[in-house]
Amino acid sequence: MARELIFNIFRFNPNTPDIRPYIQTYRLQEEPQMNLFIALTRIREEQDPTLIFDFCCRAGICGSCGMIVNGKPKLACRTPVSDLKRKITLYPLPVFKLIGDLSVDTGIWFRECNLRTESWIHTNKAFNENELEERMDNKTALNIYEADRCIECGCCIATCITMNIREDFLGAAGINKISRFMLDPRDNRTDHQYYEIVGSDDGVFGCTALMACDSYCPQQIPLQKQLAYVRRKLLIAGLRAG
């Protein structure tokens, strides 16, 4: 039986600050295999062209559409409305700068995060066009891929308690990036260099271990495991240096 869905959506546009934030209600007839991408697009195109939200790949790969769906961070495009109750409440992800309505600036945040964690391969070798690639064990490649699967959607950041208390906390996504490069034999950074980046309360020691990040990662990256790995490595590095 097709339901009439009721959407309660957070509205605020920083370009018109005089209009205070409010909740706007939309009604939409449910259709088979409707997800939040289809539903929100339909609302914008048929009911309210002022509604602002972000979608891109609509396949759960690009990380654009993180939002708070009935109190939980989710990728909207991967959320079928059939999984939800008739009343659906949508808020933008907290922590990130609001662009408007459901759209937040995850791009700038993650660029900053990539700069802070220096998320690139550090090596003194130069690339030689005439040489074969360096060999790598396939298991190592798969382990790197496991951490590299992060799509920077921000769900782990939005759900993190520490993040909400400590503005400069790196969050699970940032720490996972460190783990990704620690696992990579092509990156020549020493444990000490990693310690300089994440060996503080704004880094891996700030985590209060509530692990909502692990529960809400849409990519199901084992963030708890990645965090423990970085913490263990840095504790050992810290003890040795101590």
Partner: protein, 604 residues
Amino acid sequence: MGTYRRIHTTDVLIVGAGLAGGRAAIAAAEAGLDVIILSIVPPRRSHSCAAQGGMQASLGNIAMGYGDNTDIHFADTVKGSDWGSDQDVVRLFCETSPVAVRELSYWGTPWNRVVAGKKKLPNGQEVEDTKDKEGYITARDFGGTAKWRTCYTSDGTGHCMLYTIDSVVVKMGITIHDRMEAISLIHDGEYCKGVVARCLRTGELVVYLSKATLIATGGYGRLYAASTNAVINEGNGMFIAQETGIVPLGNMEAVQFHPTGIVPDWVLITEGARGDGGYLLDKNLYRFMPDYEPKKKELASRDVVSRHMMRHILKGLGIKHPSGIEHLWLDIRHLGAKHIYTNLREIAEICIFHGVHPEKNLIPVRPTQHYSMGGIRTNIDGAAYGLKGLFAAGEAMCWDMHGFNRLGGNSVAETVVTGKIVGKKCTEYTLGTTLSYSYQMIEDNVAKQKDRIKKLIEGKNGKEDVYKLRTRMGEILWDKVGIFRNGKDLQEAVDELRELYKRSQNIKLKSGGMGASPELGQALRLPGMIRLAICISYGAVTRTESRGAHYREDYPKRDDANWLKRTLSYWSDLNADLPVLKYEDPVITELPPGERGYGESATK
């Protein structure tokens, strides 16, 4: 307060931050040039990230790829293109791709690696990967190739490549302005001098002036009602280049349909699923592809597989989905849960949020618009015809290596190969030139865009709804300019699109168009999108032969005597509702036109 807020000046302006744009930016920045990249989304959200399957490079590391080389890759690509490609370009591409894949490895892409040992393939064949190749970059099978050549990281290849390229962009401190959309080129009829852009945070217009401008905005998939493409793929770079009147688009009628878009919302299921051993089944659970293609089976080129699938559906052997769409099944159950959840993990995730568990359920699929072989016509350096200082790379360009059909794995390869080559050529050009402009020119260009916006907001010409027009355009293309084409349908498409183009001048915004209004963004793009749709349809109705993905039921044979040539569409007058078509010969250096070895001619 002027008519615009800011002017930025740079050596190289790159429009698009996906794999092609990012790689080109690195090339320019390495030479010490000032670079600004514009992107409508944060760079890592670009559609490059959605490429799942892999990148073709003839490394020959894996048993099924032993003996591979650039000559075989060349022959596969030219046959795949149905001889529509420029062979000097294909040669350059094939020679560069192995270097590009190794460069990515150097920068950090976690390519899957060869594991030594004996293996049994899904078809029962036994092979052995030898110890001397262990740990080198491995490859999987893709359609239309003689060897296993497609390098991959599970099925997140594009994602990992994009994150690698962007990591270098971040490391080099290259300036990126994200949520910034180029809405027109600034030029003086001889030189391209930059763009007028619209900020998608505030709606303000911003001017970018540059010695060279490189367009890397990807394809136009979203013109079609059903496409695997991201919602941002609306052909922006192509239509702002064509709008100059002097830059032509090449082979716009060459549109690729991917055999396996998932029903009903057309998310891509990678060719890797068939490459790794997946089957296509009909309503009787019968594996039909070997009947049509005894040799290549599910792995003939994409145009060929898509046509056989549609024929099979038209024979009444499809399955009716609850949404009403007729489809076929993709079966990967026999690959086993371990393989599916390791090597095909992203598609497993996609299946699951469609309610399909691929280790035990069949996946509903149907051919779907996927790729634009056509694009901004450039020479072998990526320099656009018609305007100095304008370059293009990746899917937005037609330099032209794909001709009338692109092989799987060749587009991701093309992004980084052309980013590397065109980035270098664009740098050489920039080092030898300077920028001259007048403020009058800037004011005029901005005023023109301001005027368009004012008209849309005021709606003095009429009350057309932008979304309704866009939806209708998508339906026309999908219904009449699809996998099977004929003169009557194509002519109807051209006629109705011309009408739509007129109506698109009469849009009135419902939102008021304030700030970063998404409706205003769509309304600014729509006339350009419809022009592209007309170029596709008009090119297709004019080309009275079948070649690659362009298949005419009324002209089912390739006609080399009359049509071994590339279409160039010019839109010289914005008030006109048809492009001017010109033609040029493809460059043939090594392989004269012949049989592809699969497809319709081979089955007779």
